[in-house]
């Protein structure tokens, strides 16, 4: 029998584990990209530093729990506030830059954060990762979440699903937050406040000439985005059970941008669709069943990214506004 040239073993797609895995990561990227949507799609600030907010949120949460003995539930709001504060310190000077320079500054920032996490080993564990305290107390940042997760699962077990996946509660909570964030952002963007944001996106000078403090609105936009980045970071940390600097490479932000472009600019509901599509393709191609020579594992890994990239190129060619974007707003923007 001849092997087909391109084949996918469809068995994997019948496993709930695959869908839950894709669902969780897509939910996390939806949160990251919702923040980018507010920044890029509605405020005109090109934030390439979403991975930095995610890293600051995740590391702060874990450090507060493990090193400072915070309760997990208290560490969450505390690290959101710290991430916002971090965003303001960065935004105050950087948002005075022109859009393209701001983009460069934020990508540099994200790398500074990642490299700091890599080297501040006492605090972050460096490349060994951060998960539990070193002593025998067994203090891990995810302990309190695991308790909740287990009780959700035992409830599910006793009602609708006899053998729930371990990550299922995380999936539920992630998408509940996605829903709240999507509805919330849609609301605030359709208000006079959101109108000022769009004016700043269109022409900052025009907004200034009408008495709007453009910098203040840009900072607020960045603060909300930082919040979503931090929350995405929490879920990321819970999904992995350990945090490594490598989790926050610039690629994370670029993936979130891909999600944004797939879903369409200046539109919130498209973000979730973009994220699911993106991660379905990227994870689904993991099961590409190709003959080993020449298709070694590393080559398939590269091929997965190439296929995903191809998808984006095709989309740009045939539907430049993304799945849900408005073409008029895109064309008239310039």
């Amino acid at each position: 029998m001849i092997d087909p040239l391109l084949a996918v073993s469809f068995e994997a797609f019948t496993q709930p584990g695959f869908w839950i895995g894709v669902g969780v990561i897509a939910g996390i990227y939806t949160l990251l990209a919702l923040g980018l949507q507010l920044n890029v799609g509605f405020t005109g600030i090109v934030n390439f530093g979403q991975a930095a907010f995610m890293a600051v949120g995740a590391y702060t949460m874990a450090i507060l729990v493990i090193k400072a003995g915070f309760s997990f539930w208290l560490a969450l709001p505390a690290s959101v506030l710290i991430t916002i504060g971090f965003g303001m310190i960065v935004g105050l000077p950087a948002l005075r830059l022109r859009a393209d320079y701001f983009a460069i500054a934020t990508i540099a920032l994200a790398e500074v954060v990642r490299l700091t996490a890599q080297n501040a080993r006492d605090l972050t564990g460096g490349n060994q990762g951060l998960s539990c305290s070193d002593d025998d107390a067994g203090l891990c940042y995810f302990n309190e979440w695991r308790d909740v997760s287990d009780s959700i699962n035992s409830f599910i077990e006793s009602t609708i699903w006899s053998d729930p996946e371990q990550l299922f509660p995380l999936l539920l909570v992630t998408w509940a937050v996605v829903l709240i964030a999507t509805v919330g952002l849609t609301y605030v963007t359709n208000t006079p406040w959101g109108r000022v944001l769009r004016a700043v996106r269109e022409d900052e000078d025009a907004a200034l000439a009408l008495g709007k403090n453009a910098l203040r609105y840009k900072l607020q936009s960045l603060a909300i985005s930082a919040t979503l980045g931090a929350i995405g970071g929490f879920f990321f940390a819970l999904n992995l059970a350990a945090i490594y600097p490598v989790n926050f490479e610039p690629q994370v932000t670029f993936f979130a941008f891909s999600v944004l472009i797939l879903g369409g600019l200046a539109n919130y509901k498209g973000v979730a669709f973009g994220a699911v599509l993106f991660w379905f393709v990227l994870e689904g191609t993991r099961f590409l069943d190709l003959p080993d020579p020449p298709f070694t594992e590393t080559r398939i890994a590269a091929l997965r990214l190439a296929i995903t990239g191809m998808l984006l190129i095709l989309l740009m060619a045939f539907r430049p506004q993304g799945l849900f974007g408005k073409k008029e707003e895109m064309v008239l923007g310039e």
Binding site: P192, E202, A207, N213
Partner: protein, 263 residues
């Protein structure tokens, strides 16, 4: 002299070695229509930018409605009631015309983020008022039919009207217009001038506008301020300015210029 709504005193703005505004001094009387004229490169637009806070001038005093607003931020100046338009119109292209208009209305509590959650009723009721005001203003400028179109789809002349209408939504005391007639057809230009006259009379709005069309300036301005090489070389009523020798020299390249060029 003391009752000027806007008093510009000894304003300087240098860019490297170029002295774009070189000690300009003049004032604008309340409820007047004042024209700012001068040859290309005289520093008119730069002066506008300094007066409205878009450029941080090097030195000088800009007194508006009693306060020195020199080097204040453009948004703070606009909120005091000095609103400007731009030489190249800044329609917010990917926003509908009605949103362009509603954006400019003052006192909308919903422009503060927290108010969206703690005072939603106040936000909604103000929004309703603002929408009505905006529709009335669009009616005045014959833009009603375009209210839901994206501003980017408007013609050049319509954009000029939109920008003026939008500036008026901000309820300015003083409106600075940078070449409002440029690029629009004479009929529309005539209507624009009629609006200015009417607003001055009915709403007490003061106008300062940059213009190159001498016919418009001579027929519609109460006072003319002439700039050349960064300085105000003459000001007064149109008739006097027209016959001022310095003004004629500046426009036609008089004696003073020629001798300077030779040396």
């Amino acid at each position: 002299m003391n009752d000027g709504l806007l008093r510009v005193d000894g304003v300087y703005q240098r860019f490297g070695g170029i002295r774009a505004v070189n000690g300009a001094t003049f004032d604008v009387a309340p409820q007047s229509i004042t024209a700012l004229i001068g040859p290309n490169g005289a520093g008119k637009t730069t002066l506008f930018n300094v007066v409205t806070g878009f450029y941080k001038g090097d030195s000088g005093v800009v007194r508006f409605d009693g306060d020195n607003v020199f080097r204040k931020s453009p948004n703070a100046i606009a909120n005091r009631g000095m609103v400007r338009t731009f030489q190249i119109t800044k329609a917010l292209a990917a926003m509908p015309v009605i949103d362009n208009m509603m954006l400019a209305a003052p006192d909308q509590p919903g422009e503060r983020f927290v108010n969206l959650f703690i005072r939603p009723a106040a936000v909604r009721s103000r929004e309703k008022e603002v929408r009505e005001e905006a529709m009335e203003m669009l009616e005045v400028f014959n833009l009603t039919k375009l209210s839901d179109s994206y501003a980017g789809t408007l013609s050049g002349g319509q954009r000029k009207l939109l920008e003026l209408a939008r500036a008026l939504m901000a309820k300015p005391k003083l409106l600075l217009l940078d070449e409002p007639m440029a690029g629009i057809n004479p009929t529309l230009g005539k209507r624009l001038l009629d609006h200015m006259q009417r607003l001055r009379k009915e709403e007490g709005v003061t106008f300062l506008f940059i213009e190159h069309d001498m016919e418009v300036v001579m027929n519609h301005a109460d006072k003319v301020v002439v700039m050349a090489e960064g300085k105000v070389i003459a000001s007064g009523d149109p008739e006097n300015v027209r016959n001022d020798k310095k003004v004629i020299d500046a426009y036609l390249g008089g004696e003073a210029h020629e001798t300077k060029a030779k040396t």
